[in-house]
Symmetry: C2
Subunit: 499 residues, 2 copies
């Protein structure tokens, strides 16, 4: 492969005094500052014994320190392992163990919890402050690291992002610098690129939707406007008053933004509301159309380094409800005759090469990644996603894998077997609901089961209701029929809702 | 490497009814049409026995047929060898022989000449017409080719473009699809990309400056507006009335456009006058600034698949005369201490992997390509090109390599030795001037030498004046001192100007 320049160093050379990151208070960090601070951050990590090739977990909320960690870890040639802050301790411990993390960086708010999970976590905020001020200290003899560079090798892993399979056991999807590069380029070829673009980052940095904005900002040379958390008023203000031109959202966020602004039109400077992380309900799309909001549906996943297909802005009205067409470098196929619903598969240079599991790195053997999601193309080649993988529940943009929740329930001494499905939820789109078969001589106690789940699972994965059934519906070969469960949900068995 | 989709097929899938090419008469060809016609063109070539991997020379003026040939040859997996129509027969024959051309496609205007150079050339216009109308005929049994695709393998050669070295012998620079891809992406990351962009192609398609516009139009999904030849009035009309947003020019063209419009300002829809192919004289730049023309200087060459450095539009005023900064994926270095003039070298994924010569393909061994051009960086890292390779003469955007002209002169029975340098020329920027030492007993006859050159060299390479000298200035090791010749030019020896 032909060597690429270090992306961040090149940005600092090309537009040193242009802002690369703007925080919630409007403090702008130039590319020159970010470049220098990222090198200092990498040097600090190196002082702590972290080396090129190591895996560095980050357990923190959004902000400048997190974005700087992304850059510093990349510069060192180490691999970022972003931890979903909503996970339960047991889930985090599993991920740290699976990747063999060399370090855990935690912010102030999560430091004590981190200390219970990992020996001597590093304080992210302090590292970022020291790096920004250049307080790196003198290197020992021969200790100044020769930094491999940010993105110089497109095949090098940038990050490992956990996602779950049907097995119920989360696995770490590897994203290379090349995956991010091709994703960023594919997105620019679809959405265009302007000198004055600013991309609002109010999705979590531990998800690919947030992380990829930092990667794109470096490739494009445009600022990421980083909010510590999503607040609809603040997101609106960034658009109305601070020149944000593109925002990435999930549909619940978009709805809350519209509520907060009482459907007041957006300024013309906003050119794209990129809505992903699950289907956008049609009434919400129509509400956007009424106020001429430039909403653009997208379909993507961790394994495609964010977008795989995106509706071009020009088609937004004519193809309401469609996720559009693949990015330029990406191919999508449906495993079904033309026009019929089938499993969506994807390939291209933005697709993850494989997963890290307890058994090590497992490279995907086929060019095509099978998404498990169902969809069809209309006669003009526009993708309509009918449902995410048959079993996947998307709650407020977070993925809930039923098999993972079922495995926890089945480890409870009262439970013989369990089935989990999603049901519609006004606030979160969907929410998980559990069906359990209780062991002979044991008692069905929803409150007890909920507490058991809460101790072992992120809150968004804990079922909002439990049903007892005499048996679970299964097909001839014993496979759980989740659809039958979902259809039966409202009327079957006795429901106990958890508070 | 990760497979890429066929660029043109992907464009046809993504925006089938959007224009991909617009000819001088305003006839628009959609991506769907271009895709279908390119496949038909490839099938026709295949009927003529041309296969994947073959080298196909094209000897034609600009137009839809040429652009379609570029696409059809790419789809077949063959390699385009564009022939400069200004070359003399002997030069063309040399190039065809060097690459071992499997076919020569010539337009109507040049067909008879082509027939004198190659056995059974194919008629380009007829192929293009048949392909466009789908008149491909029935394939023989098992003859339908499985087309490798346009750009699916970034390492495959797209074209071989001849350029000369100091040796005087032209060599074919290989450009891969990847070279074009990274060049197109690097350019978009610098100049931005808009849904409504249209790129005016009025440079010859046989030069990288013209060819690369076709490649970019496919990658970007924007139309190339193809003019058969440069006409300042027509170029102005395309900008003023036909929505052209970007134009690639050399400085003489820009000057003629300004003359033709009497310095009337350009419409706001024009966002970039990309001026390359040699330095733009400062008075012309200042004239552009006065009417707010968005002129953007660029520095590039065949071996970098067009631009290597480009002044960002935002810096156009502050850095008048600079060629800007490297494209995002490209690195430039000066072989001299900071701030001093030295040889410019370049590396990156847009740089040609090597040359085809009579000895076959010669891969460049070093990552860096040595340009031979001289320049320096100012203290903010902006490139100033002081002079193209010390010996290179740029006449109306065409490169004239003195060694090549000298070799021809020295093959004349009257000439003992020859030296060729450029001198300023009001119309063409520079023009070649020859210094000859005549053999004892022979006579200096400029008209005869000019006629001799005209029979063997493209017209733009034929010296506009000849000087006789008793000896050529050489250094201790016998190397010709062209600078001394250039300095001496106006006052030394007797000058005979050719008509």
């Amino acid at each position: 492969m032909h060597a690429m320049p270090d992306w961040l160093a090149q940005r600092a050379r090309l537009s040193p005094r242009k802002a690369g990151l703007i925080d919630r208070n409007g403090r702008a960090y130039t590319w020159e500052e970010l470049d220098r601070s990222a090198s200092a951050f990498a040097a600090l990590l190196s002082r702590h014994g972290i080396e090129c090739g190591d895996r560095v977990a980050v357990f923190a909320g959004n902000g400048y320190p997190y974005a700087l960690a992304v850059m510093g870890i990349a510069r060192l040639g180490a691999t970022l392992v972003p931890i979903n802050v909503r996970l339960a301790d047991a889930e985090i411990a599993f991920q740290l163990r699976t990747v063999g993390a060399a370090a855990l960086l935690a912010d102030v708010e999560r430091y004590d919890r981190a200390a219970g999970l990992f020996q001597s976590p590093l304080m992210l905020d302090e590292l970022a402050a020291r790096a920004s001020e250049g307080r790196v200290g003198e290197p020992g003899p021969g200790r100044r690291p020769s930094l491999p560079g940010f993105g110089t090798d497109l095949d090098r892993p940038q990050g490992i992002l956990f996602t779950s399979g049907t097995t119920g056991s989360p696995k770490g999807a590897v994203l290379t610098f090349g995956n991010h590069w091709w994703s960023a380029v594919g997105s620019a070829l679809n959405l265009g690129l302007r000198e004055d673009d600013r991309w609002l980052l109010c999705l979590p940095l531990f998800h690919v939707g947030g992380l990829s904005i930092v990667m794109r900002s470096v490739v494009y040379g445009i600022p990421a406007v980083v909010h510590e958390r999503f607040d609809p008023e603040e997101a609106n203000r960034a658009i109305d008053q601070e020149g944000v031109t593109i925002v990435s959202v999930v549909s619940q966020m978009l709805e809350r933004m519209l509520d907060a602004r009482r459907d007041a039109p957006f300024p013309r400077t906003l050119r794209c509301l990129l809505a992903g992380g699950g289907p956008v309900p049609k009434p919400l799309l129509e509400r956007c159309v009424r106020i001429n909001a430039p909403v653009v549906q997208t379909y993507g996943m961790t394994e495609t380094a964010s977008q795989a297909a995106t509706l071009a802005p020009a088609d937004a009205l004519a193809k309401l409800g469609s996720a559009g067409k693949p990015l330029f470098c990406t191919e999508l196929e449906i495993d079904a005759p033309a026009g019929e619903v089938g499993e969506i598969r994807v390939r291209g240079p933005n697709v993850s090469p494989g997963y890290v599991t307890a058994r090590g790195f497992e490279r995907r053997e086929e060019a095509w990644h099978l998404t498990g999601d169902l969809g069809y193309f209309d006669d003009e080649g526009y993708l309509y996603v009918v449902s995410r993988r048959t079993d996947l529940i998307i709650s407020g943009g977070e993925n809930v894998y039923p098999a993972e929740v079922e495995a926890v329930l089945e480890s409870h001494p009262d439970v013989l077997e369990a089935g989990v499905v999603g049901r519609d939820d006004e606030r979160w789109g969907q929410a998980p609901v559990a069906f359990v078969v209780i062991k002979p001589g044991r008692r069905f106690d929803a409150a007890e089961l909920a507490a058991y789940c809460r101790a072992r699972l992120a809150k968004f994965k804990v079922p909002v209701a439990f049903h007892e059934l005499p048996a679970l519906p299964r097909n001839a070969s014993g496979k759980l029929l989740r659809r039958a469960l979902a259809d039966a949900a409202p009327s079957t068995g006795k429901e106990q809702t958890t508070p």
